[in-house]
Structures are given as structure tokens and as C-alpha cells.
């Protein structure tokens, strides 16, 4: 257990936090890469998912894109992108790789969420004379909101994990602390870096769970049997469920957990 104590010493040493390669800078890089990639991925995936879900087409594509995302190793994509001429453009290869892996969970979950919105309610809204955009904005999106947020959470988990791997290829972020530790056989530093990355991932997940509750457009209204039954996973609503756990009545396997946390 000497390593753990050494890792703690490393973490509590002030000089490791400041400076150009310090924890502060690396954390900033990690958050910047994560935020930027998520924003770009949302801008791409959510409109497409809303549109496909609304017109009810392209389901095969939306479902299968996450299967493809799972089979392709993130490390391979990072490696391939970093060997292209894009390498000369700073963070861009990393951001592109992160976006590529954030889009599938966002797209699949948002599509399923909108598609599986209670058809009776949608029909009723249509009967009341709502137009297409109104139907999407006022009925389908609020009803599909839990799954859209599930998609965002699994995309975030994925992006934080992939951003860590970018360090292997010389990118920035907290992963740099781990890879530098491996290169210098400094195990305490490796453990300290891994601890920071794990805490960051768990904190971001927690923040998103809280944000999901606070921003729920149906907050306080999702109490009747049908709506709440739809949301309650096996572990109860309070459990931090895995992406894909909070599922509707989709058979197992069709709605699957998030792509691997690479």
C-alpha cells in the first residue's frame, strides 16, 4: 500500500498542481476538449435524431450506428487520425475522434426517445391541430427527454474516457499525467493521475444526473402510473443507471448500454 501513500503525497504536493504541465492546466485541457466535442456532437446528432424520430424513418441507421461505434476501438481511431495531415492542426484530430464517438449514443437514444413517445398522446396532439414543429417541441421532445439525457450522459462518459486516451498520442488532458508516469516508471504518479480521471468522470456523471432532474420539462408531472412506470428502472429512480438502463419496454439487446468506455 506504499504506492497509495506515495500517490497521495504526489497529489498533495503543490508544485504538481501549477505550472505548464500541472494538474490545473491538464484539467482545463480535459474539460475544454470534453465540452467542445460534446457541443459539436450535440449540434450534429440532436437535430438529425429529432428529425428522423419525428418522421419515423431511418430507425435501422439510428440503432445500428451505436453497434458500429462499439466495435471500433477508440484508440484505433485516435491513432489513425493522428497520423493524417490533421496532426499539424493542434487539438483537431482529438476533437474529431471525440465527436465521432459522442454522436452514436446521442443519436440512438434521442431517436428512440422521440420515436417511443406515447403514440396516443402524439395522435391526440395532432388531432388538436398542432403542426409538425409544435408536435416535436411540445410533445415528443418533453416525453423523450429522459432518453435524450441518457444519451448525453453516455456520450459524456465516452468522451471523458476517450480524451484520456488522447494522451497516448501526445494530446493534452489528464491522461498526460498517467502516460508520463508510465514512461518514467513513476507508479505513484500513474495512480494519482488515474484517481483524478476517475473522479472527474464520476463528478461529471453526477452533475448530469442532477441537471437531468432539475431541467426535466415534465418535473412533478410524471407521477401518474403510465409515465412513472416507464421511467422506473430495476434499481429505483435514484440509482445512477447505466446508459440504456432506464429503458422503456424495448427488449434487452435492442436498447443497449452505452458503447464501451474507452
Amino acid at each position: 500500500m506504499g504506492t497509495i501513500a506515495d500517490a497521495w503525497t504526489w497529489l498533495t504536493t503543490g508544485s504538481n498542481w501549477s505550472g505548464p504541465g500541472g494538474i490545473g492546466v491538464r484539467l482545463g485541457e480535459h474539460l475544454y476538449l470534453t465540452g467542445m466535442s460534446l457541443a459539436i456532437a450535440c449540434a450534429i446528432a440532436l437535430p438529425v435524431a429529432c428529425w428522423l424520430g419525428h418522421i419515423g424513418k431511418g430507425g435501422t441507421l439510428a440503432i445500428n450506428i451505436s453497434n458500429v461505434g462499439r466495435a471500433v476501438p477508440t484508440l484505433a481511431v485516435l491513432g489513425l487520425l493522428l497520423l493524417t495531415p490533421l496532426r499539424m492542426h493542434g487539438d483537431w484530430p482529438t476533437v474529431i475522434a471525440l465527436v465521432l464517438f459522442a454522436v452514436p449514443p446521442l443519436l440512438t437514444n434521442a431517436y428512440v426517445g422521440i420515436r417511443e413517445a406515447d403514440r396516443d398522446v402524439v395522435e391526440a396532439a395532432r388531432g388538436m391541430g398542432m403542426s409538425g414543429p409544435q408536435l416535436l417541441g411540445r410533445v415528443e421532445l418533453p416525453l423523450g427527454y429522459p432518453l435524450v439525457m441518457t444519451g448525453l450522459r453516455s456520450a459524456t462518459v465516452q468522451v471523458v474516457a476517450t480524451a484520456t486516451l488522447a494522451a497516448i498520442a501526445g494530446g493534452g488532458g489528464l491522461g498526460r499525467i498517467i502516460t508520463a508516469g508510465f514512461r518514467t516508471y513513476n507508479t505513484p504518479q500513474v495512480v494519482a493521475g488515474a484517481f483524478l480521471v476517475a473522479v472527474l468522470a464520476l463528478v461529471l456523471e453526477g452533475v448530469l444526473v442532477i441537471a437531468e432532474r432539475l431541467l426535466d420539462p415534465m418535473r412533478g408531472r410524471r407521477t401518474d402510473g403510465r409515465a412513472s412506470g416507464r421511467r422506473t428502472p430495476a434499481g429505483g429512480p435514484g440509482t445512477p443507471t447505466a446508459p440504456g438502463a432506464k429503458e422503456t419496454d424495448v427488449p434487452a439487446g435492442e436498447q443497449k448500454p452505452a458503447p464501451a468506455p474507452l
Binding site: 497509495i4 450506428i65 491513432g79 502516460t179 495512480v191 468522470a201 434499481g235 474507452l262
Partner: protein, 262 residues
């Protein structure tokens, strides 16, 4: 002459690379396969009793699922690094990390499958004098098999992709070649190893799909409008109908993955 020049020119596709380094490629693939097999095998052995415990004592369902979900959130590089002080730099670090990830998917699918066994079927078997163990192994598990196999396929495919991260410490199968190629900017090595990795994932998925077909002949018989199910009777018909739908999705998924690989 032309063949060997692609190595010197550092081209993406290089037949000479595959020829001259075939031993290295075979070794890496073999390591990749055994790390995956060990991880998924141990994962299955660990998740089976855990799922049974979580089913027997419902109070434990939430904590078990919650804990595995927290593990799933930790980025893979951090997970491996955190295990280093416990086991040193070895293949067991990678296998342990991958086992922990596979638990989330396997336990969830085991529980889903077992919960979906119709109560009538269970009652009928009990009425025929089946004990707990016999009920589990001859009635419940066979009926849960489609869900379990779906989970196994997801776990296997994501484990194959994630094994590459073990390359950071030299125990990542094809990931070793990817990491090495990234550092030395060796394009052919990164591309060849990446493609092999995706091919492995597709192959494993197809093999497991075939195994599932072999193990559940009644699902196919029923889909083709044949005789009734084995332990199911009328009640399980809807269930198998859904399984059929998943099956079609998955076949398309495999096709999409093949396209992605090509």
C-alpha cells in the same frame, strides 16, 4: 522492389508490412483473443452468481446494479492504472479491468432475461415437482438465453475494442501494435492492427450469433410458425416474437459493421 518501397514511403496500406511482420501480427492477435476470452469468461462466471443473488434478495438489486454502473463510468486507462499497484504491470491488470466492465452488461441482461420468464411457466414447472436448481437450469436459463446471449455479444464486442487500451502497458494484443505505431508514426502498422481488431469484433459477434441460433432452436421454429415453444406455451409466444425482432436488428447490425470494416 515496388513492394518494399511502401514501407520506406510509410504508406497506409502495405502488403510488405503484412508479409514481413506476419509473426508479430499473429502473436498480437493471439494475445488479443486470449485476453478477450479470459475477460468475458471470468466476467460470465462472476456475474452469474451476482445476478442470482440480486434476484433472490431484491434489496440488493439496486446496490449491485449501481456499483457496476459506477465501475462502468471510470475511463479504461484510469481503471487499468488504478489496478497497477495491486497487481503490478501484468496481463492480469488488463483482464481484471475488462472483467469489471463486462459485469455491468452481463448482470443487467441476466436479470432482464430471468425476470422475463413467464410466471405461468415457472408455476407449471413447480407443479411438476421441479426443485429450485432444476427449475433454474432447465426452464429459466433456457428461456433467458436470448437476453443473456444479447448481453454476451455486446460484452464481447466492447471487450475486444477495449483490450487495445492495454497496449499502454504492453498487454493489449493488437493495441500494442497501435500504441507502438502511434509513437513511431508507422501508418501501415496502425491501420493493419485497427482493421484486424474490427474484423475480430465482427467475427466474434457472428460466432456468438450462430451459437445463439444453435442453442435456441425453438425460437426459430416459432418464428417460422412451427410448433410451440419448449417450456413456454402460449404465454411465451409474444416474448419470442420480440426476440425475433431483435434478431433481425442484430443481423442488420452485423451487416452494418461489416460495411464499416470494409
Amino acid at each position: 522492389m515496388k513492394a518494399s518501397s511502401c514501407l520506406a514511403a510509410n504508406e497506409w496500406i502495405c502488403g510488405e508490412y503484412v508479409r514481413s511482420r506476419s509473426d508479430e501480427l499473429v502473436d498480437a492477435t493471439v494475445q488479443h483473443v486470449w485476453i478477450t476470452l479470459a475477460s468475458v469468461g471470468i466476467g460470465l462466471l462472476v456475474s452469474f452468481p451476482l445476478a442470482l443473488v440480486a434476484r433472490r434478495w431484491r434489496v440488493l438489486t439496486g446496490p449491485v446494479l449501481g456499483l457496476t454502473t459506477v465501475l462502468y463510468t471510470i475511463p479504461s486507462l484510469a481503471m487499468f492504472s488504478l489496478l497497477v499497484p495491486l497487481m503490478g504491470i501484468s496481463a492480469s491488470v488488463v483482464v481484471t479491468g475488462l472483467v469489471l466492465y463486462s459485469l455491468t452488461i452481463l448482470i443487467r441482461n441476466l436479470l432482464t432475461g430471468l425476470d422475463a420468464v413467464p410466471a405461468d411457466t415457472r408455476e407449471a414447472a413447480r407443479g411438476m415437482g421441479y426443485g429450485q436448481t432444476r427449475l433454474l437450469f432447465t426452464v429459466e436459463l433456457p428461456l433467458a438465453l436470448p437476453a443473456v446471449m444479447a448481453g454476451l455479444r455486446i460484452a464481447t464486442v466492447s471487450t475486444i475494442a477495449m483490450t487495445t487500451v492495454g497496449g499502454i502497458m504492453g498487454y493489449g494484443g493488437l493495441g500494442n501494435l497501435i500504441v507502438e505505431g502511434m509513437r513511431s508514426l508507422f501508418k501501415a502498422q496502425v491501420l493493419t492492427a485497427s482493421v484486424l481488431c474490427v474484423l475480430l469484433a465482427v467475427l466474434a459477434d457472428l460466432l456468438l450469433l450462430g451459437l445463439q441460433r444453435l442453442l435456441t432452436p425453438w425460437a426459430r421454429a416459432q418464428r417460422g410458425g412451427g410448433t410451440g415453444g419448449r417450456g413456454g406455451g402460449g404465454d411465451s409466444r409474444g416474448r419470442f416474437g420480440r426476440v425475433g425482432r431483435v434478431g433481425r436488428f442484430r443481423t442488420r447490425a452485423a451487416a452494418a459493421r461489416k460495411e464499416a470494416a470494409a
